[in-house]
């Protein structure tokens, strides 16, 4: 069944495709090509919801994204808050309801996909109205690479609200031909349903494409619902059109009150009449077109109320021919009605010189019954993107609007976005802009014929009228709404100026005008006008509020795009990851890496597993996957000299075949990383970094090499992922290694501590390993490095070779315990960018011989030499079963006073030790090394745990175990 207000013919809707939808609980139908708004109007539904503050009924004011009132909540197919009915394309099964200015988020995850795409072009054209299409056609024919975007589902722009003829054909034919030509031109990309929402630096324009929304339930799940286009354009043509401005008067918010031009859009684009009997409130000629078009379509138009002292002669005559009463010199002073306007009050305007200042109301108001009031308050060029691009704005007092002023070099504006209203002028501007843009990018635009259009110079200039003068009612709330969505009235604006505010930004914040969903598209200029009136200043002297991106609202998910879930940040895994997973490892995130944390056996908790792993490392043999360690190959004649500057200790003296532990400081003297340095050759080192800092250390090297010491012959490259690295730890590690590396003399003298050897492994053909005899556990240990490709095979071979000795895989937690027992710090755990090598008790790693290295000078600062610096020590709870929480603070009192309490430091690491058969901790404590032997306290919960301060090395102080 056809809806009551749908005309039998006309409009760009597909009458063959009827769509069912439900709004506010009522089932209705519309057509493919409708928006929710047009379909509602076709069904006679004007009331959408209620207003945010006063709960007043609100309807549909406009036909596009500038609409301030038609806020809806989509419920089906998936909840989405706060869309305007004017921007929701109708689809079958849509369920929605009106909103009181506030939306509801779905409480289930959004199943839709979103993505982003880059586009590069010579010329970007925003808008496919007459100006935009001319610009695009001109640039495209000239051979420029062109991207054209338009937020509507159909090209035509403002023509969609008209029955214009171009080249003596309906405009649709010219537009469709042009679109077809553009689509057929190589190098041209035309995107409909795509809103350019932000202009940034260097021709960067972001646009949101709604790809499947209009398909509703039929949207294919695999296709991205919305796509952010990241367009880099050498030249940009903004043909963004104009928004009609309302006029403010009492009760101007009732459903059924609509912008005149928007009513034409509903008529011509959708074949919908806004009601049965209309009054048109005009301040310019363009509003007459609405009256005439609607009358032609069979709607009763009771009157045109023209605020100007005289009506345009020809238009008046045409109205008279339709029996429309034209009341020049009159204004609408108020309306009646409930959920729909039912009558308007019309009164003579005082003043005759046509200026807004002089207009007042004189004489008694007349009441005209109607169910539709169309308002035409003039047009605001859409300058949002232009302003974001860095263009300056100029106030045009004739138009009562800000128009583009000085444009940035790569930006042009065409069409009604410049303030032009005449179709032929818009076409010409489009052509000019297209030519210039194409020329600027080296293309050679051909002559493009401008389509002929009906000459239609306006008969009479418009009147700039922000509001119909009059006082607010004394006993009732003001109903002269400036910002309909924020329920902000003329009185609110005047209250703000009365409070002493003169900046528009202040008034905006005081009244909240312009901060709602529509970002003040229709209310901004009016507010400025009313403020200027109130303050007695020129509007041109007011700085307009900033047009901030986005131009229209953009879903968060569209911006997040595909960077969600596992694509949010890549997870890096080692070559042996699958083995760890199969073995039931739990993982720890370290930077982007997934590191095995511990390997629980069935039924084991973490403590048990870690104690077992530790015991294996101290008593038998254990194997770890240390492949995540950063590895940097440093080569070149000056590599040694370079590393001398980067590390606190001396690396240039390291012999080939040997390994040295190194500490790295920032220029501020604070420890930033540590690792081993292996000398592979006179001019080649392999340095390792902590897992999390690998990229930082390589960047650090490059920065110094390139910017400070470019004369040094040094090259650094990351080889982290080339190698699989397996620390093989424990008294039986030598046996396991010997079994696997028959050609390697593993004797303590032949392969001494801090040496490395290359060897062939008995794993398969061509499997060689670099074995480093280093230890981060204090035990006899070998770090076996093989190419990542051979990692899994070598790992399994090691496990097999060690089976007889009960070889045990272990994770980062056990590694942490083992090193802590030896007092070895973890960078980032014992240190926090305020810790020096001396604080760590590692002055031994700080060269006294080197003239300089990064950070050295900072060691001499006053603060570095305070005796009460925090120093790394061990803490032994008196109760050997109590494990201190990591991050607990240390105090020197056994009776906590009221805060603030003096803190001496904090617990950095804390474990249960199999080897010590007790708990222990590492901590940084003020004057810690002087306090060895003292009893301090650690507040835990409501109590204090007494602890003994010890040296940081708690296990095998003599270092006897490292030789096995």
């Amino acid at each position: 069944m056809s809806a009551a207000f749908r005309l039998p013919t006309g409009g760009h809707v597909d009458r063959g495709t009827e769509l069912r939808f439900t709004f506010n609980g009522r089932s209705m139908t519309g057509y493919r090509g409708d928006t929710l708004a047009s379909a509602l109007l076709a069904n006679g539904e004007h009331r959408i919801g209620t207003s945010v503050k006063f709960g007043r009924p609100r309807g549909i004011v406009a036909a596009g994204s500038e609409d301030p009132t038609s806020l809806v909540q989509i419920e089906q197919p998936f909840p989405e808050p706060m869309l305007t009915a004017t921007t929701v394309e109708l689809y079958d099964g849509l369920v929605a309801h009106g909103l009181p200015g506030r939306g509801r988020l779905a409480d289930e995850p959004d199943p839709a996909r979103y993505d982003a795409k880059h586009a590069h072009c010579d010329v970007l054209v925003v808008g496919t109205g007459p100006a935009g299409l001319m610009a695009a056609l001109t640039a495209a024919r000239g051979g420029a690479r062109v991207v054209v975007v338009d937020e509507q589902s159909r090209a035509g722009g403002a023509l969609l609200g008209t029955r214009e003829y171009l080249d003596e054909r309906p405009w649709t034919e010219w537009v469709d031909d042009t679109v077809a030509e553009l689509r057929g031109t190589p190098g041209v990309l035309l995107l409909e349903r795509t809103t350019a929402f932000g202009v940034y630096q260097d021709g960067f324009v972001l646009a949101l494409q709604r790809r499947t929304d209009h398909l509703g339930f039929d949207a294919p799940a695999h296709a991205a619902r919305q796509r952010v286009w990241r367009i880099r354009a050498a030249q940009t043509v903004l043909a963004t059109g104009a928004h009609e401005r309302p006029v403010v008067f009492a009760d101007n918010d009732r459903p059924g009150i609509m912008l005149a031009g928007s009513a034409r859009t509903y008529l011509h684009r959708y074949g919908v009449l806004p009601g049965t009997r209309a009054v048109v409130f005009a301040t310019d000629d363009s509003a007459y077109a609405a009256a005439l078009d609607l009358a032609n379509a069979g709607m009763e138009v009771a009157a045109v109320v023209d605020a100007r002292p005289t009506a345009p002669r020809l238009l008046r005559a045409r109205c008279c021919a339709h029996g429309i009463d034209v009341r020049a010199g009159h204004v609408v002073t108020g309306t009646e009605g409930g959920d729909r306007v039912s009558a308007v009050h019309v009164a003579p305007a005082a003043g005759s010189d046509g200026s807004a200042d002089a207009i007042g109301t004189a004489g008694a108001a007349d009441t005209i019954d109607c169910d539709t009031l169309l308002v035409g308050g003039g047009w605001n060029p859409v300058v949002h993107l232009f302003s974001q691009a860095g263009g300056t704005l100029r106030y045009d007092s004739r138009l009562g609007a800000h128009v583009p002023g000085q444009a940035p070099a790569t930006v042009r504006v065409a069409g009604s976005a410049t303030g032009a209203h005449d179709l032929s002028a818009c076409l010409r501007q489009g052509w000019e802009a297209g030519c210039e843009a194409a020329l600027a990018t080296g293309s050679r635009p051909d002559e493009v014929a401008l389509p002929a259009s009906e000459p239609r110079a306006g008969e009479q200039p418009g009147l700039v009228l922000w509001r119909v003068p009059g006082e607010a009612p004394r006993d009732a709330p003001d109903t002269r709404f400036v910002d309909l969505q924020r329920d902000a009235t003329v009185s609110d604006v005047l209250r703000a100026t009365g409070a002493g505010l003169s900046s528009l930004e202040h008034v905006k914040r005081y009244t909240t005008i312009g901060t709602a969903h529509d970002q003040g598209k229709t209310s901004g200029t009016i507010t400025a006008g009313i403020v200027a009136e109130a303050l007695g200043v020129e509007l041109s002297d007011q700085r307009p509020t900033t047009f901030r991106p986005p131009y229209t609202p953009v879903p968060f998910a569209a911006l997040a795009g595909r960077d969600r879930g596992e694509l949010h940040d890549p997870a890096r895994v080692t070559a042996v990851h699958a083995w760890h997973v199969a073995r039931g490892a739990l993982f720890e995130d370290v930077g982007q890496w997934k590191r095995p944390w511990y390997f629980p056996l069935p039924g084991e908790d973490m403590d048990t597993a870690v104690l077992r792993e530790c015991r294996a490392a101290r008593e038998g043999v254990a194997l770890m996957d240390g492949s995540t360690l950063g590895k940097i190959d440093v080569q070149g004649r000056d590599a040694g000299r370079f590393l001398d500057m980067l590390y606190t200790n001396k690396m240039s003296g390291l012999r080939v075949g040997r390994i040295r532990y190194g500490l790295m400081c920032g220029v501020d003297g604070m420890v930033i990383d540590d690792g081993t340095v292996i000398r592979l050759a006179e001019d080649r080192f392999l340095v390792t970094t902590t897992t999390g800092n690998a990229a930082m250390v390589l960047d650090w090297m490059e920065e110094w090499l390139q910017t400070e010491w470019p004369h040094l012959d040094v090259y650094a490259a990351s080889v982290t992922e080339h190698w699989a690295t397996f620390p093989l730890v424990g008294p039986r590690s030598r046996d396991v290694l010997a079994a696997l590396a028959p050609g390697l003399d593993v004797g303590n003298d032949a392969f001494e501590f801090m040496a490395w050897r290359d060897t062939v492994l008995d794993v398969g053909p061509g499997v060689t390993a670099r074995v480093c005899r280093i230890s981060f556990s204090g035990e006899l240990a070998y770090e076996i490095n093989v190419t990542a490709w051979h990692g899994p095979a070598v790992w399994e071979a090691l496990m097999a070779a060690g089976e007889a000795y009960g070889i045990t895989p272990y994770g980062t937690e056990t590694m942490h315990v083992l090193r802590a027992e030896k007092g070895y710090p973890i960078i980032g755990q014992e240190t926090d960018a305020t810790v020096t090598p001396q604080d760590l008790g590692m002055a031994w790693a700080v060269s006294k011989k080197k003239a300089d290295f990064l950070g050295k000078r900072s060691f001499d600062r006053a603060e570095n030499n305070r005796p009460d610096r925090k120093q790394l020590v061990g803490l032994l709870p008196l109760d050997r079963d109590v494990r201190l929480p990591e991050g607990a603070q240390v105090v020197d009192t056994d009776d906590l006073p009221e805060p603030p309490v003096r803190m001496l430091g904090h617990v950095t690491s804390s474990y249960r030790s199999a080897a010590l058969d007790r708990t222990f901790a590492l901590a940084v404590v003020r004057s810690g090394r002087e306090r060895v032997g003292e009893i301090l306290h650690v507040p835990v919960g409501d109590g204090l745990v007494p602890v003994t301060v010890t040296e940081s090395v708690l296990y095998d102080k003599e270092g006897a175990r490292r030789d096995g």
Binding site: V228, G561, D563, D589, R861
Partner: protein, 415 residues
């Protein structure tokens, strides 16, 4: 026909009205005892406490644009005091205590809402650092708790605490007394009260020079003429370096864009404030219902009050990892302020080598929450020519001695 939605206006729609009068727009007088440069939150608060606590009312606040139109108008209004170091928790907790009485003090509804703040931990080291901070906070008298993922969920049910996300939430620190306030209302409250005590609030008045005689400051030159000043106090956030340079003073600061954004009004879903250092997001739901989010700072120096959009996109993906239900919320508006970042992510507040010139800068992303505290301490510093005990550690000299207050872990944004 009935609307399926509740006809009652949603909560927050009836926010308290502003007073009918705020401040006058006077012509600058030729001389003042104290000229405060910068009419943002810190400048206005400083003027207020100068007048109220120290009886110094011959004060002008000079603002180059509109009052509180800089970072005060652009921040995400998070208030908390759960900083790591004693020095920081001292001044921020002083500030928080003043916030707790500010509405009454100013006689202005600032919508201070102690809804708590969660600082999420996503790695084992995050957990250690967080627990350390909680313990330090408690011993410093700052309310703080460590919550496991279940506790996080109780405070903020919409946070995704599933263990299988890329960076799972391993827990959070929680400061119940933390919260948000309405930034404009705070600024206007201070402005109105300062004005009422005789302070001149002078807008559209840009300082173009600072005059000295010998080592002493004597006047400022402005776009509205020369103004003699017994003392000059700089409270210009992102523009501090430029002002200090006028007297040849070099500061260890760099100015960067910091972006923020807001959604449309939404039914209440987010009862607290959530910050995540690791994924660079902080988000709350303002009184009317909009989601307010901050991003990481843009890396480059910039005075343009705008940043790069890829920062926003990254922030959105991080936000949706934490809050999947935000997927179809809409970005309504983005903006940027200019933050002055110091090497240790702590402010510089105190005297300068120029007599009568006082410095308050380097707050980075954390200035809003400090507004009452630093206003009070800075006023004290100006009035007594001596730092208040709470801003004593925040000297310029610390960069020479090395006595930094390194708060990179506690500042919400990795500088």
């Amino acid at each position: 026909m009935t609307d399926p939605v509740s006809p009652a206006p949603p909560p927050g729609a009836h926010l308290p009205d502003h007073p009918g009068f705020l401040w006058e727009d006077p012509e600058p007088r030729p001389a003042y005892d104290v000229v405060v440069v910068g009419g943002g939150g810190h400048g206005l608060a400083t003027a207020y406490y100068l007048a109220k606590v120290h009886g110094i009312t011959n004060v002008a606040v000079l603002e180059k644009g509109w009052l509180a139109g800089g970072n005060m108008a652009r921040n995400t209004t998070i208030i908390r005091s759960n900083y790591l170091w004693d020095e920081s928790s001292g001044i921020y907790e002083h500030s928080l205590k003043l916030w707790e009485g500010l509405e009454e003090d100013l006689g202005y509804p600032i919508l201070f809402d102690q809804r708590g703040v969660l600082n999420l931990a996503h790695s084992l080291q995050d957990v250690r650092d967080s627990v350390r901070r909680v313990n330090a906070n408690r011993l410093n008298g700052v309310d703080a708790e460590w919550l496991d993922p279940r506790g996080v969920k109780e405070v903020c049910p919409i946070v995704n605490t599933a263990p299988d996300v890329r960076y799972p939430v391993l827990g959070a620190t929680y400061q119940p007394r933390a919260g948000i306030a309405k930034h404009d209302y705070v600024a206007w409250g201070y402005a109105r009260a300062a004005h009422a005590m005789g302070v001149d609030l002078i807008q559209n008045c840009e300082v173009t020079g600072i005059e000295t005689v010998g080592d002493r400051v004597t006047a400022v030159r402005t776009t509205r003429g020369r103004i003699a000043a017994g003392r000059v106090a700089l409270c210009a956030a992102g523009h501090s370096s430029v002002l200090a340079e006028m007297v040849g003073l070099r500061l260890p600061l760099t100015s960067h864009p910091l972006q923020a954004l807001v959604s449309e009004l939404l039914e209440p879903v987010h009862p607290t404030v959530v910050m995540s250092n690791a994924v660079h997001v902080y988000v709350s739901q303002a009184h009317k219902g909009e989601l307010v989010m901050g991003a990481g700072i843009d890396s480059y120096n910039g005075y343009g009050q705008r940043g790069s959009f890829h920062i926003i996109e990254r922030q959105m993906s991080a936000a949706l990892e934490l809050f999947p239900i935000f997927a179809r919320a809409h970005l309504l508006r983005t903006w940027a302020g200019i933050v002055d970042v110091s090497p240790d992510a702590s402010p510089i507040v105190g005297l300068t080598p120029v007599e009568g010139l006082y410095l308050n800068c380097g707050w980075g992303t954390g200035g809003f929450k400090a507004t009452p505290g630093v206003g009070d301490c800075f006023a004290h510093t100006i009035a007594h020519d001596k730092p208040h005990r709470f801003n004593e550690p925040f000297t310029l000299e610390r960069f020479t001695t090395g006595a930094l207050v390194d708060e990179h872990g506690a500042a919400a944004v990795a500088h």
